[in-house]
């Protein structure tokens, strides 16, 4: 049985060394660029007609746009729409990473199944939102950590909790995405491996892990979309906190 973790291996395609750092172009980098290319191609091809009544592809593009714009508006308010391009990029990048990772290719790879990728994204969101909070509200932003209506005596306890829960955000954000992608993909590989193993001994019961794999595949597609959505929606909520505080 093939190692179910093998799919997560990073393989350098073009070795690049800069200043002692290994910045090789890897299979992960390749899929990131494919994700960028696919996302961009989809948007441009979809809007080529510039039709008043959209066709199929244009509907998809408009739907994605309205979906994310609605998400930003609902969660971060009208002021949040200034950051819409960034949120839209984030959503498409993660969605493409998750979805392209579902392609059954021998060199297939899901870059969002790596904690360092999701953590870098989440840290970027966290730092950006925090800087924005201080930029918009100055030191007044610190009162964000003081819960409204809490008794004064409790504050020495509550404020550290609030600060901790705030600082933990990039970790929760990144680990959620990374764990979902990694666990799902591993499960799929494990059950797919069962099919092969079982089939070589006893053909008919191999249908059971096959059925599970089929179900998991559908499930994984749902997770791929859902996790992209969750990451984006949480980003919007953090944006809201930074813009409006409570």
């Amino acid at each position: 049985m093939a190692d179910p973790l093998q799919q997560f291996e990073i393989r350098p395609l073009v070795p690049i060394q800069i200043g002692g750092l290994d910045l090789s172009f890897t299979n992960s980098s390749l899929w990131m660029l494919i994700a960028v290319g696919t996302a961009y191609w989809l948007l441009i091809a979809g809007t080529r007609q510039h039709a008043l009544v959209p066709g199929r592809l244009q509907s998809v593009v408009e739907l994605a746009y309205e979906f994310v714009a609605g998400m930003v508006r609902d969660n971060a308010g009208k002021e949040g729409l200034r950051y819409f391009p960034l949120v839209f990029t984030l959503f498409l990048f993660i969605l493409m990473g998750n979805m392209l990772g579902m392609l059954p290719l021998p060199f297939g790879f899901t870059f969002t199944s790596h904690i360092i990728v999701t953590f870098t994204l989440a840290l970027g969101v966290f730092l950006g939102v925090t800087i924005l909070g201080f930029y918009l509200h100055g030191t007044h932003f610190l009162t964000f950590f003081v819960p409204h209506g809490a008794p004064k005596v409790m504050l020495p306890l509550l404020v550290p909790i609030e600060v901790l829960s705030y600082c933990v955000r990039p970790i929760s954000l990144s680990v959620r995405l990374f764990c979902n992608m990694m666990a799902g993909h591993t499960m799929m590989k494990v059950f797919a491996g069962f099919i092969v193993t079982l089939f070589s001994y006893w053909a008919v019961p191999a249908i059971a892990p096959l059925a599970v794999t089929v179900a998991l595949t559908g499930f994984e597609f749902a997770v791929a979309f859902l996790q992209a959505y969750i990451f984006t929606v949480l980003t919007c909520i953090y944006l809201h906190d930074a813009i409006h505080m409570h």
Partner: protein, 199 residues
């Protein structure tokens, strides 16, 4: 406090993956080379670098090219819908104005028709009255004429009666008494008797 509870619960839930993430490297080290590829820190610089490059590239492409195009399409549609709605509202206002005008014209025409009708009625009534008066006068005149004629006829008839009576008197006198009475004498006698009867 529910919000706080939720936050506390979330922190507790989060503690698990953090612990896993922290314990990971130790795990990887313990297993030697066969650890989780995700925890192989040697690949981190490359992943971070290419992540930043591709994310920045996508951001730039979307911001400068794709998003303006989509926004333009949606805006055009919104404008078009707005313009159509405006036009519909304007047409509606026009239709309402036309209806109002139509109503006023209709009302005016009705008023005028009523006026005409009233005038015609009055005219006809006047005509009728005049005719009636003429007719009445005519009838009265004819009545008078007829009465006059009747009176004349009566007078004539009465005259006739006297002549006949005189003849009868003469004949009777000749037969009964054998007297020859002259016509003037008989006439005078009849007139005397008649006037005595009339008295």
């Amino acid at each position: 406090m529910t919000r706080l509870d939720a936050r506390l619960a979330r922190s507790a839930i989060l503690a698990l993956p953090i612990a896993l993430a922290l314990a990971g490297p130790a795990l990887a080290a313990a297993e030697g080379g066969g650890g989780l590829p995700q925890l192989d820190t040697r690949t981190y610089p490359s992943q971070i670098f290419w992540l930043i490059v591709s994310f920045a590239l996508l951001y730039r492409l979307l911001k400068t090219k794709a998003i303006p195009r989509i926004a333009d399409i949606l805006e055009t549609r919104q404008d078009r819908i707005g313009a159509d709605l405006d036009r519909a509202a304007r047409l509606r206002a026009d239709a309402e104005a036309a209806l109002k005008k139509h109503d006023s014209i209709l009302a005016e025409a009705q008023a005028r028709a009523q006026q005409r009708l009233r005038e015609a009625q009055e005219r006809v009534a006047a005509e009728l009255a005049r005719h009636q008066a003429e007719l009445d006068a005519d009838i009265a005149r004819r009545l008078r004429d007829a009465e006059a004629r009747i009176a004349a006829a009566k007078k004539a008839a009465l005259g006739e009666v006297a002549t006949v009576a005189a003849d009868v008197v003469r004949a009777a006198a000749a037969r009964l008494a054998g007297l020859e009475v002259g016509p003037e004498e008989a006439r005078a006698a009849v007139n005397r008797v008649l006037s005595a009867g009339a008295r």
